[in-house]
Symmetry: C2
Subunit: 95 residues, 2 copies
């Protein structure tokens, strides 16, 4: 497998590692999402200490309104974060 | 950096490795996209041998119609591929 193929596999594995802990094993409940973000996005979540921010993130990701985050909703979040990082990198390079 | 953060960095690096070759260095022209897919998605592109399929893929990714694939359009493709892989994995697990 190429590096890119390995990366996509890693994203799926990480989602599943947390989603399978409790309840529906293919969806992240709020506590599972919080655990995933804390462990897998340490740099980002250092900024998110309060419950209100976590609630609001969950609400914005949960487009189908079932109070859980499915894989498709998770990929929307991954895409947003990656696009933000890329924009930072693009502007940083131009300086 | 966590595995997930490293993965997002790898996706950005791979895009940039090919997009910076010719013309606009933040966009993939058709030949750059083809090279990226051939090298980074060998498993997938084994199936795509003909130019017509490549043209049609480029057309479907190029939502702003400038005949190039920018990072946002590329992430849409990555998301589609990852969701397909996840669905395969989900159904495979249930068997």
């Amino acid at each position: 497998m190429s590096d890119l193929e390995t990366c996509l596999g890693t994203i799926i594995e990480i989602f599943h590692k947390y989603s399978s802990k409790e309840g529906d094993k293919y969806k992240l409940k709020k506590s599972e999402l919080k655990e995933l973000l804390t462990h897998e996005f340490p740099t980002l979540t250092e900024q998110v200490k309060d419950q209100a921010t976590m609630d609001s993130l969950m609400e914005s990701l949960d487009t189908d309104g079932d109070s859980e985050c499915d894989f498709q909703e998770f990929m929307t979040f991954i895409t947003m974060v990656t696009i933000c990082c890329h924009e930072f990198f693009e502007h940083h390079e131009d300086e």
